[in-house]
Symmetry: C2
Subunit: 234 residues, 2 copies
DNA sequence: GTCTATAACCGGATAGAC
DNA sequence: GTCTATCCGGTTATAGAC
């Protein structure tokens, strides 16, 4: 019944880890973040409290794991969308909607989720070194959104766009968190409108006669941008 | 030596309250928010733990009080700036700088501060009903920034601008929190540039020929905007 | 209404045994 | 890798003094 072959490797541990994470997310969905105790998570998962802490250094790290899982799922969803769609606007909108669908079940505790993420000291912060991988993967999705689109975009802009779309993505999530409309229709409406406008704006900014203004804005951005994956966070 | 006339009223209590708040902020500055215990605050203030909780229902409420104090101080600083300056850009920039000066000493623990504030459930959230007064006062400052400027702005835009400037203010604070440059020079640079650009944009948006676009954007905003001081937060 | 003192509760986090 | 015991600090409760 059981095998412990060398391919299984960390399998046993991974299973426990996954069990704890899923249990935690279920409880978060049911009762919210603050209301869910680590003891309750451990109990329902059928493990000891200390064991939960063996896999997740803190309650916040459960959130980080949730981030990671969501990224994986979004990347998967994005793949099929990006195979199908070829216009910038539709590719972009598709990814945004996929993300909103993905996180909707967690809207209830997403506030706390984002709150802890807002602290620059926190490893959960989207700008932190710990988040670099997630940030890089996320940005990669948006690079693919752009690269696959039938649209000629100058190199300087094209280089910055994935980061900008990722920032936009963050802004949408922030809006979504504060959106109490049923089904988050308000956020979807906002995304519809802004993606359309911004897609046009990108096309416009790509015109040759826009070059000077484009250069000026990109220069300002470069000045302002912290070297995100760098020394800034000691 | 002591009088307890009717004018003194809550004076005794107010003094204790202020003492506790100042002590807490000192400790936050010195050691950060998480590292500062309520017991330590009470001890250094020379009051009993229970007394601290008599004046502040929770540790978070100390932050809310800090917000309030900062608002007061900003309003005071703004008054003298707005008496002096008459161009939109200089009035606006003056207020932004005054605010940055005011909060600089607290940069260290501002992250946590903003983090707890980011949770929609939290009373600290700038959009929450509990924050309505602070939000209203803050918005009033920006209304004054606009009203006193020598610039003709159409009514529809003028009505929305204070809220928009307040949103911008929030965005600046968010940027500031993540700014690890010495003296927050990066934030100041960003503010310099963006206030200049946005001031021009406001002037541009006020031109008669911009009316249709302006109307369209204001309409979208109205659709998106939650009735902030409303039922949304039950 | 303001304040002290003290004990207790609860839950996040850690230590160390198995 | 898993468990039990323990610590620590936010918070609450109580009972009483000015």
């Amino acid at each position: 019944m059981e095998r412990q072959g060398e391919q299984a490797k960390t399998s046993r541990g991974e299973q426990t880890r996954a069990l704890i994470l899923e249990t935690a997310l279920d409880l978060f969905k049911e009762n919210g973040y603050e209301e869910t105790t680590m003891r309750a998570i451990a109990q329902r998962a059928g493990v000891a409290l200390g064991n939960a802490y063996y896999y997740f250094r803190s309650k916040e790290h459960l959130i980080q794991a949730f981030y990671g899982r969501t990224h994986q799922e979004l990347a998967g969803a994005a793949r099929s969308i990006l195979e199908r769609e070829h216009g910038l606007r539709d590719r972009w909108l598709g990814v945004m909607y996929a993300n909103l669908d993905l996180i909707e079940p967690y809207h209830r505790f997403a506030g706390i989720l984002f709150a802890t993420a807002a602290d620059p000291q926190s490893p959960l912060n989207p700008f932190s070194p710990e988040s670099e991988e997630a940030r890089r993967e996320s940005t990669a999705i948006y690079a693919e959104v752009i690269d696959g689109a039938k649209l000629r975009i100058p190199r300087d802009l094209k280089q910055e766009l994935p980061f900008l779309l990722w920032l936009y993505h963050m802004g949408v999530v922030l809006f979504w968190i504060h959106d109490s409309s049923p089904g988050r229709t308000r956020t979807r409406h906002m995304v519809d409108r802004t993606v359309a406008i911004l897609s046009n704006l990108i096309a416009l900014a790509s015109k040759p006669f826009m070059r000077p203004l484009r250069k000026a804005i990109l220069k300002l951005m470069a000045e302002l941008r912290e070297d995100v994956p760098g020394e800034a966070y000691s």
